[in-house]
């Protein structure tokens, strides 16, 4: 394979890996926005907390159990981090958002910004702000074909993201709770009249969204090998861009939006210039929003007259 093609494929893989992480966070955004139309700025922070929980789990594992096969410790990480983040998500919803259920959307948005500030600095104070290194749980095994390399951790990221997306699509379509979430997204008053406990469904949405974000956090920590309390900000912003780009409210949309944004950024950085990388991402977002506001897969809800 000639060098140019190898380069392109490698850039594609780089973009896809990044895109998958964005997609996982975007799934959380889309679900929360779909159900209660709230731009949850704190979601990026929940992702960051997930990464830190994974780091804590690794320390605990190292202290308690001796060396374990990698997939056992990986599973333990996931469970620990998802549980922690789910609990955090539920607490945020109960403390900060539930009292604002029927106040104007802007006040809920300000609260989410407050929560994001709070979490960021809380983690900094607990874990001290130094960049923390994350020991490598998933062994660094690499498959390479010519100059193209594809590591095990990238494979794990792909599998986990696609798997979770399929699970979520199934969950929303066939389970009672999933249907209730979709009903709430369509018409909250009607859903309420049909006996759906709005608060419970919203709480579950937050729990699910936070758990997904924590999975992204775990994979992010393992892939890059270091965490910083500031990670949530930029990743959260990009993930939200992906969610809107794919069509906010639509689960496959979040996946597609995340992947495309990752690839677009990867190629942009690789071929044009990495310092303008973020500008490409935002220009893409603005272009989509203006030409097709409902995003690629979102449904356009015309205003009833």
């Amino acid at each position: 394979m000639n060098a140019a093609l190898e380069l392109f494929i490698q850039q594609l893989i780089n973009g896809l890996t990044l895109g998958m992480v964005y997609a996982l966070i975007a799934l959380g955004y889309t679900m929360v926005y779909g159900v209660i139309q709230l731009i949850n700025f704190a979601h990026g922070e929940v992702f960051m907390v997930g990464a830190y929980l994974a780091l804590t789990a690794i320390w605990i594992l190292a202290a308690l159990a001796g060396p374990l096969p990698f997939w056992v410790s990986f599973a333990a990480l996931l469970v620990f981090s998802m549980a922690g983040s789910a609990l955090l998500g539920a607490t945020i919803e109960k403390v900060a958002y539930k009292p604002l259920r029927n106040s104007p959307r802007l006040t809920a948005l300000i609260t989410s910004i407050g929560v994001s500030f709070f979490l960021q600095n809380a983690v900094m104070l607990i874990y001290r702000s130094k960049e923390q290194s994350v020991p490598e749980i998933i062994p660094h095994v690499q498959v390479s074909l010519g100059r193209i390399s594809f590591s095990l951790i990238q494979g794990v990221i792909f599998l986990t993201s696609i798997g979770l997306m399929i699970f979520l699509t199934w969950f929303v379509k066939n389970t009672k709770l999933g249907k209730a979430m979709r009903a709430l997204a369509e018409d909250p008053e009607a859903a309420c009249l049909m006996g759906i406990s709005v608060d419970r469904v919203i709480r579950v949405t937050f729990i699910l969204g936070s758990a997904l974000a924590s999975v992204a956090g775990v994979l992010f920590a393992l892939y890059y090998g270091s965490v910083n309390f500031h990670d949530g900000y930029l990743a959260g912003l990009k993930a939200f861009t992906a969610a809107v780009f794919g069509g906010i409210g639509s689960i496959p949309g979040a996946m597609l939006g995340g992947v495309l944004l990752g690839v677009f950024e990867g190629l942009g950085a690789g071929y044009i210039s990495s310092q303008w990388k973020d500008v490409f991402a935002f220009l893409l977002l603005v272009a989509v929003l203006i030409s097709k506001p409902s995003g690629l897969l979102g449904e356009n809800i015309p205003e009833k007259v």
Binding site: V95, N102, S103, P104, L106, L109, I110, F117, L237
Partner: protein, 338 residues
């Protein structure tokens, strides 16, 4: 109270609020307090400007720091390359920022609700990164240095009337007066705007854009005007900021600043001009008041924003619109639930 009488009192209200503030620089020469006073003044300008778009028209602009930056960089470049005096640079910075306000406003206002927030957020980031990367003009991350301070022509009478130039220096007192004047002037103009048919049109758009359009309001044009006025004010604030700091770097105009100004508008009371000013005062001084617990500052700042929204959503002063909206909602939920 009768509608007509209220209008005459705009000038009166502005005077009663801002005149006593003019006394502060006279009694308190502590440069730190005056610098804080000026910084809060600049925040007040920004909060009032953003209030036009967010408070009146309900258009959520999350990229407001970009216009603040455009104003600052415009004056910096004017002053560095063409030695343009501050008093000429001020309106030009406002106009350039207004131009970009229209440019960015044009596509954004066609977009609905939350998407407008994201479009403006995107533009805000693009402008900041552009300033950081275009090293040739903006000095990139090093920013622009040595921006001229405002000068005044002070008439002096020894040996016949002639004017010497007296330049602002590091002492923040003159900036305090400059900012106070701008804030008072802007407050007066915005109060007049909100009493005019444009103020009402903006509020109608916020209430029900479709009905407003059927009632003869050219909604896109009016929203664009709101964007224009709002970014003009940010341009002015940016120009003053550049003249005070004499050095500007892109990292002073990031997303956190846009969010901070938005929080001021909402905390003070949406759609309420005085709320915006008070929000600026509260959130401007809070980080300084909390300076003692240095590490915990931003933590407490976030906590206050959360608690404020739960216990006082209509903001400290209670924006009329939000206040009415909340009363209506409580009444409805009371009827519904009973």
């Amino acid at each position: 109270m009768e509608r007509i009488s209220l209008k005459k009192s705009n000038l009166f209200k502005v005077a009663t609020v801002f005149l006593p503030l003019a006394l502060i620089p006279l009694f308190d020469h502590n440069p730190y307090h005056l610098d804080l006073f000026t910084t809060v003044g600049i925040y007040a300008l920004l909060a009032m400007g953003l209030n036009v778009v967010v408070g009146f028209a309900g258009l959520l602009n999350l990229g407001y720091a970009a216009f603040f930056a455009i104003g600052a960089y415009t004056y910096a470049l004017l002053s560095l390359h063409w030695h343009c005096p501050f008093w000429l640079g001020l309106p030009i910075a406002g106009l350039v920022s207004m131009f970009f306000g229209f440019l960015i406003g044009m596509p954004s206002i066609r977009v609905r609700g939350d998407y407008l927030a994201i479009t403006t957020l995107g533009f805000g980031e693009i402008v900041r990164i552009a300033f950081n990367n275009l090293d040739a003009w903006t000095g990139g991350p090093n920013g622009l240095l040595g921006i001229a301070r405002p000068k005044l022509w002070v008439p002096s009478f020894e040996g016949g009337l002639h004017f010497e130039t007296w330049s602002f220096s590091v002492n923040p007192a003159p900036y305090g007066y400059l900012v106070l004047g701008l804030v008072a002037g802007t407050a007066c103009l915005l109060l007049r705007l909100s009493d005019s048919k444009f103020g009402r049109a903006l509020v109608a758009i916020r209430e029900d854009e479709l009905a407003a359009s059927c009632m003869g309001i050219p909604t896109l044009k009016v929203k664009l005007y709101a964007f224009g006025v709002s970014s003009f004010i940010a341009g002015i604030a940016g120009c003053v900021f550049a003249a005070k700091q004499t050095i500007i770097t892109p990292d002073s105009f990031d997303f956190v600043l846009s969010v901070l100004i938005l929080a001021m508008v909402v905390l003070g009371g949406l759609g309420n001009l005085w709320g915006a000013v008070l929000g600026a005062a509260v959130l401007g001084t809070l980080p300084e008041l909390l300076r003692e617990f240095a590490d915990y500052r931003m933590l407490v700042f976030g906590l206050i924003m959360i608690l404020m929204m739960i216990f006082r959503p209509q903001g400290i002063l209670g924006g009329q619109l939000i206040q009415r909206e909340l009363d209506v909602r409580h009444k409805e939920s009371a009827d519904g639930a009973s």
